[in-house]
Symmetry: C2
Subunit: 344 residues, 2 copies
């Protein structure tokens, strides 16, 4: 069976109506919002066809129709007219994002707040990570006689710091040795090169200074490990409690969202060259816990390179037309801010 213009109209109307109300949509009910001068019986016939085609579902015989996963998919790809964000709206988002310090964590947290606010759903994001990061700079900032802060900057503009207390005093001599080692061994090299094994080898060649230096070098290995690891941020989880689709199983979804591995997996698995957000709808998804939800996300780019991701999770009847452009825009702005921040 082929999709006709009328079927398109009806499917779009059902999807939009259902997104609004969350109630199964009946034929009569639909007539109002439909610009067609046909009877409800005709609409019913068409809807029956749409069920055959797999785009609609019926919770039970005497109820209206709701869109199936395939129905949403068809809607998103063929029927939806993306909401056009007004300049004022964009400006507001710009301002809110620029209010932050520009550090990835802060920017993404703010982005999450904005997304949660607009979508009334949960926002997710991951901080940028780069397994191929190159170390640009390492600093040792003395804070006390036995305390110092180690700062590591990588090619991605990711800045990690760690305060360390040592048993032996941090003298000028120690600091100098530290800088020498760092310059000779780490600057300009991949962060993943700083392994414990490497440090042990280095320590051997340090003689009596090994005792004082090792803790400092171990911190470097920790920091480099941190640049490879992303952090998962969640905002507006509680918004989900308002939807009746999550009445019984909000807990399950929320627990799932807290686990970073599966989400990271989803983000990295999804190949998407277009720059448009990825949309994963209901049953399309790999993880059972997400199969009655939709995930809209976009990987943002720092310096032209995809790094972290940000997006929104909600019921399958999420407002696609509104949120897809919105996630795209926020992802772009976040990318710009973080790229700026990464530049020297």
């Amino acid at each position: 069976m082929e999709m006709t213009e009328r079927k398109n109209k009806i499917l779009a109307a059902v999807v939009e109506r259902y997104i609004q109300t969350g109630e199964p949509v009946g034929s009569k009910n639909l007539l109002d919002s439909l610009g067609l001068s046909v009877s409800s019986a005709t609409v019913r016939n068409e809807m029956a066809d749409l069920i055959d085609m797999g785009y609609l579902e019926q919770p039970h015989t005497s109820a209206g129709r709701i869109p199936s996963t395939a129905g949403y998919r068809y809607y998103v790809e063929n029927l939806m007219t993306a909401y056009d964000m007004s300049p004022t709206e964009k400006k507001l988002i710009d301002i809110k994002l620029h209010e932050t310090t520009g550090e990835p964590h802060a920017v993404l947290e703010r982005a999450g707040n904005i997304i949660a606010d607009i979508s009334k759903c949960a926002a997710i994001s991951t901080t940028p990570a780069d397994s191929e990061a190159v170390i640009k700079r390492i600093e040792l900032v003395p804070i006390g006689t036995h305390t110092a802060m180690v700062v590591m900057l990588t090619s991605f503009g990711i800045l990690k710091t760690r305060v360390i207390r040592t048993d032996s005093e941090i003298t000028l001599d120690i600091a100098e040795t530290f800088y020498n080692i760092v310059k000779a061994n780490f600057i300009g090299k991949p962060a993943c090169d700083i392994t414990i094994a490497r440090i042990q080898t280095l320590a051997l060649s340090l003689g009596e200074k090994a005792l004082a230096m090792t803790p400092l070098l171990v911190v470097l290995s920790d920091l480099s490990k941190m640049t490879e690891k992303t952090e998962l941020l969640l905002e507006g989880q509680t918004n989900l409690l308002g939807y009746k689709e999550y009445e019984t199983n909000a807990f399950e979804l929320m627990e799932f969202l807290r686990r970073s591995e599966p989400l990271n997996r989803i983000f990295t698995l999804e190949k998407n060259e277009t720059g448009a957000p990825s949309v994963l709808i209901g049953k399309e998804q790999l993880y059972r816990e997400l199969q009655n939800s939709t995930l809209i996300f976009s990987r943002y780019s720092i310096g032209g390179r995809q790094s972290g991701a940000l997006g929104v999770v909600g019921p399958t009847r999420i407002d696609y037309a509104r949120l897809i452009p919105c996630i795209r825009y926020i992802s772009d702005v976040v990318g710009i801010i973080l790229s700026d921040n990464a530049e020297d």
Copy 2:
């Protein structure tokens, strides 16, 4: 009416039973867990007295009893035998807390995880803040030609950093001027002295260097403001979804917990010299949103001085005997770790 030994026993049994099951406790039901050889009728008579005295409540005529706020209060203060944490248990907590970097945020996050895990409720904590903090040290770490990190350390061992990008290059000369200004004006002074007004005055005296210096000084004012502001950490919120007392209004409570002002207000208002955790039960509380919950918290001390707080929020039938000692212990350990961290 006076409390007799038997009334005490019965009240304690009702409270403990209700904490376990969440179901109203009936007279017959109670006989098992009660070490008394009396009939259910006697127990009923006693329970009727306890209702008159305000310690028990009845959801409806033909149901069992549940403790009232006053009942819990009496239980906590007179009847409860605090759970004695085993050395192994303590050790485990020690280890988990020491695994962190020792920075307040990290330690408290971990503490929150532990509390959420033990209590199956939500953990709350606030990072240390000190309105009377004195500036101990300020550093300017060059990162690029136009980028630098400003580091501020205050008397509380609170370390705040901020990366800044400037229009004018950060030369050695600029850095030197910065250190001179800082040394002359800020080191050893209260953090709250660094106001925008003060900076404007300073800028006037800097002549042509004002343009380059002002942004750096403004960052200092931001950082000093940050040392005064605490941050609220929440862990294990989703645990609350498992309790039927929050079936309908989990959203309201969770939204309330996200707002830091009221919680900070509660923490600072509560005077408690004993060192034991504060326990705020149900209707005793100021905020309507907490009136069917209990809050157990303790202010931890850094360097002998009360700063932030940490604790747990759950239904009024929270496990007092277990959690009060637990919060106390964790608060002590957190205090020790953060004091260590604050020391130079």
